[in-house]
């Protein structure tokens, strides 16, 4: 690899010039110009379908452009596959961890370029190097373990270490933080700053605006396959950024707020709670978690990653077996705890992992919607096609599902529409309580607003909703009440006007301080005790 002289370095290390790309008539990229300077962190943003992924795939050799050029360090390049792009110094980290779960951590890190001796892989050296390398990324683990036994965040770090380790000039990160915890995000930022210091350019794709402002120098906004803005990120107002992405007027965004929830929706009336969970406990994960959801109320579940939010929702449906605790629906205690029983009682859950736990990609929209409701839509074991069609049409209209028709394959739809299909699946069971685990994760801004508006409507119609979201503003604006969890315990509850970002952060922070104080006390005592023990020793 030729070392670039820092002096007469070209203006752009990586450039796309007038790139066009179509798929079966769909114009995915239209004359895209994109320039990356050495040592900069460049945000690439846009709604789903804006062309970000396609652009990345063009510059990394997955796709070949129909027209236009890709230039690396000032020279035209045509990469025929990712390997060639990688060899030329372009490394990519994909959103979904693209490693081999069954192989060891060290193997994953070095696949394809293992250190060798006499033509054989030098396993000892590989493992030592891997352990050393990963410690720099905050992953301190036995590198001979299969990768799958690591947490998602640690896996993402391995992918990152792998990408950086090759002699890279450019590192492309596609939503690298979607599975990271806050602490790991900090580590990622440190790594990015380290890369920057070495003069390596980073393309950073993310939906999380906070991160962009924290780590990026410049930003390129794409919409409908074209670049609509490129410039410094400092000084660019958030609202302007959002309006650029959405192609809407800034004033409209400002007026409607950042989310599509209506601020003044009347909270659910009093009366009997639609759902009451009492003292749910599960060893190490949940400690006497109790909460109530009244009809027409959106109850937010706040807390950091690992606080037990998903566990609480799963415990309510019975998907997670609890050690103790009861669940009542409409005042009736559920005897058998299983998702099927909860469903019969009127409690349904939209799982966090759309791909793994919900959508059946090869089935049609119609089939995906009616799957759970089949028993109700059947007579004597036969599916009543006419009633099925009615239900499907009803929900496709009501949820504004954008599909060519009920027979289109679900995998062809965008993430947001897939989420709506799932929502329709549960809604056609006519539930009383809807548990939503990260309903807007990974879907684009526009679809997000629609899903948020839907949640609003559903609550208006009298449905009790439990909303889990790691986006503060979504939680704050969407919930009538927020139950705050920390380490599997309910540590606070915000209500009415008290549902604010400050209050939520306060609830989390306050508890942390108290806990720290506790720990310190114990430590001091321990140390004292130890010291006393030591004293008599001659």
């Amino acid at each position: 690899m030729v070392q670039q002289d820092p002096g007469p370095a070209p203006d752009s290390v990586l450039e796309a010039v007038g790139v066009d790309k179509s798929f079966a008539g769909v114009h995915a990229l239209r004359g895209v110009d994109f320039a990356l300077r050495p040592g900069e962190v460049h945000a690439l943003i846009g709604e789903n379908g804006a062309g970000k992924s396609t652009l990345i795939k063009v510059v990394t050799g997955v796709y070949r452009p129909d027209a236009g050029r890709v230039r690396l360090a000032g020279a035209d390049r045509e990469f025929r596959n990712p390997l060639e792009a990688q060899a030329a110094g372009i490394s990519t980290i994909y959103q979904e961890v693209n490693l081999v779960p069954l192989m060891s951590v060290a193997r994953n890190l070095y696949l394809g370029r293992e250190p060798r001796r006499l033509g054989l892989v030098d396993v000892g050296r590989m493992n030592r190097q891997a352990a050393q390398e990963l410690r720099r990324f905050g992953v301190d683990t036995d590198v001979t373990r299969p990768l799958r036994t690591l947490g998602l965040g640690a896996q993402q770090m391995v992918a990152l270490a792998r990408a950086v380790q090759v002699d890279a000039k450019v590192v492309i990160m596609d939503e690298p933080t979607s599975s990271l915890e806050p602490r790991e995000v900090d580590t990622l930022f440190e790594v990015i700053w380290g890369l920057k210091a070495q003069g390596i350019a980073v393309v950073y794709v993310s939906h999380r605006l906070d991160e962009l402002y924290a780590v990026c120098d410049r930003v390129t906004v794409m919409r409908d396959g074209a670049v609509v803005h490129t410039g410094e990120i400092a000084g660019l107002e958030r609202l302007r950024l959002i309006s650029l992405m959405l192609g809407r007027e800034m004033s409209a965004v400002r007026e409607k707020g950042a989310t599509a929830f209506e601020a003044d929706r009347s909270a659910g009336a009093g009366g009997r709670p639609a759902l009451r969970a009492t003292d749910l406990s599960l060893r190490h994960r949940l400690h006497r978690v109790s909460l109530e959801i009244r009809p027409g109320e959106v109850v937010g579940l706040g807390g950091l990653l690992g606080a037990g939010r998903s566990e609480t929702a799963k415990a309510i449906t019975g998907a997670l077996a609890t050690d103790s605790g009861t669940v009542e629906v409409d005042g009736t205690r559920l005897q058998h705890r299983s998702p099927a029983a909860a469903m019969r009682a009127g409690v349904v859950m939209l799982a966090e992992d759309r791909k793994a736990e919900g959508i059946i990609p090869n089935l049609s929209v119609r089939e995906n919607i009616v799957l759970a409701a089949l028993p109700r839509l059947s007579r004597a074991g036969l599916v009543d096609r006419r009633r099925q069609d009615e239900v499907v049409r009803l929900f496709m209209d009501r949820l504004r599902i954008k599909a060519a028709g009920p027979d289109q394959k679900v995998s062809d739809l965008s993430g947001g529409n897939q989420q709506k299909v799932l929502l329709a699946r549960w809604l056609c069971l006519q539930p009383k309580v809807l548990l939503l685990d990260e309903p807007t994760r990974g879907i684009d801004v526009g679809a997000k607003a629609e899903v948020q508006a839907l949640i609003n409507e559903l609550a208006e119609d009298g449905l009790g909703v439990l909303l889990i979201s790691s986006e503060l503003e979504e939680l704050i604006e969407g919930s009538d009440r927020v139950v705050v969890l920390k380490d599997g315990r309910v540590v606070g509850e915000l209500e009415g006007d008290g549902v604010t970002e400050d209050a939520l952060l306060g609830a989390l922070a306050q508890d942390a301080d108290a806990r720290d104080a506790d720990t310190r006390d114990t430590d001091t005592q321990d140390t004292d005790a130890k010291d006393q023990d030591k004293e008599p020793t001659p």
Binding site: V100, M103, L120, V121, T187, K530
Partner: protein, 342 residues
């Protein structure tokens, strides 16, 4: 014993020990399951052999052991090749037919051209056959099951053509050096042992082996990592075909002729041995050592069934084999679930 007590967490000082470090060890149940998956076949083999040795007077005799080893060793090469194929998530149904074809070609070569032809002809045909299958699978994107099923039928057909539908039998000349390769117990066992050892080295210590495992575990990831996926796929079927035809040739050296009716269903036995040895049928994980345990276990059980149930006939042997395999697959599924592989 460390006298200093550190605060449990230091939040500010960069990347500290996090959840990744906290879970440095897997739960005992998962570790146990992984061990059973890896060494279960070996444990059962030892157990079965021990019981058989204790209860039967004939089992532990040298004549019995040498007949188990000598008569089966070459067929085990099919399982060696199959291990590689299954680790990539594929399957090779053609090996039984290629084994028979290799045998006939070996005998034909020995009869018409001498030892070199007897060795090279089957290897070349097996390699060519495997390469074509590999190309159809890797480049044309066809399903391995279909391609190699066609290969199974095609190789049988070619065999029928070469032998004029069994009317012509090729014999290895009595004085041919080629016969030495298959004679006795030690030559086959050492030959096969060396090939298995090389296979193990290839799988665990070469980049090719790592590529195979990676592509079986997550083909998309392997592609995006820039590994030579298509080439590895072609090579793995080439390897399997070559081993099958070569094994057939060695078999003909032992038998002294090319037997046309041999090899039917051998591909299934090979798959069984590989799976019993702990290689995941879905690909991505497996070992040559496991396959060694697998073939030995099947051979020992076969021997015992022959010994104890010979009056019921060979059909009974197949039934017991089938039941045993079903049991193993069930066990593997449970083990995979315990390890949360799926």
């Amino acid at each position: 014993m460390s006298p200093t007590v550190l605060p449990p967490t230091t939040l500010s000082s960069g990347p500290g020990p996090g959840p990744s470090a906290a879970s440095a060890r897997l739960p005992l149940r998962e570790r146990l399951a992984a061990q059973v998956q890896r060494r279960g076949a070996l444990a059962v083999l030892v157990l079965v052999a021990a019981i058989a040795s204790a209860t039967s007077a004939t089992f532990p005799t040298w004549s019995n052991v040498s007949s188990i080893l000598g008569n089966n060793a070459f067929v085990w090469l099919l399982a060696l090749g199959m291990t590689f194929v299954i680790i990539t998530g594929g399957i090779d149904l053609s090996v039984g037919s290629l084994y028979a074809l290799g045998g006939v070609l070996g005998a034909y070569g020995a009869q018409t051209g001498g030892t070199w032809l007897a060795i090279l002809l089957p290897l070349a045909v097996g390699a060519g056959w495997g390469t074509v299958q590999g190309l159809l699978i890797a480049r044309a994107g066809m399903a391995p099951f279909i391609v190699t099923l066609a290969g199974l039928l095609g190789a049988r057909g070619l065999l029928q053509a070469v032998t004029h539908e069994g009317a012509t039998t090729y014999l290895v000349p009595a004085g041919s050096w080629f016969r030495n390769l298959g004679a006795g117990v030690w030559t086959p066992v050492i030959l096969v042992g060396v090939l298995f050892a090389l296979g193990g080295l290839l799988l665990t210590r070469s980049r090719f082996g790592a590529t195979l495992t990676a592509l079986g575990g997550n083909e998309n990831a392997a592609l995006l990592m820039g590994l030579p996926v298509a080439r590895a796929k072609v090579l793995v079927y080439l390897l399997s075909g070559t081993l099958a035809a070569g094994a057939g040739a060695l078999g003909s050296a032992r038998l002294g002729s090319g037997v046309t009716t041999i090899g039917v269903g051998y591909e299934l036995t090979a798959i069984a041995a590989v799976v019993i040895g702990g290689t995941l049928l879905t690909g991505g994980s497996g070992s040559i050592g496991g396959t060694v345990s697998g073939v030995l276990l099947l051979a020992v059980i076969h021997n015992l069934i022959d010994h104890y149930f010979s009056q019921y006939g060979s059909a009974f042997t197949d039934a017991v084999n089938g039941a045993f395999l079903a049991l193993v697959v069930l066990l593997q599924t449970l083990l995979s679930r315990t390890q949360q592989l799926t």
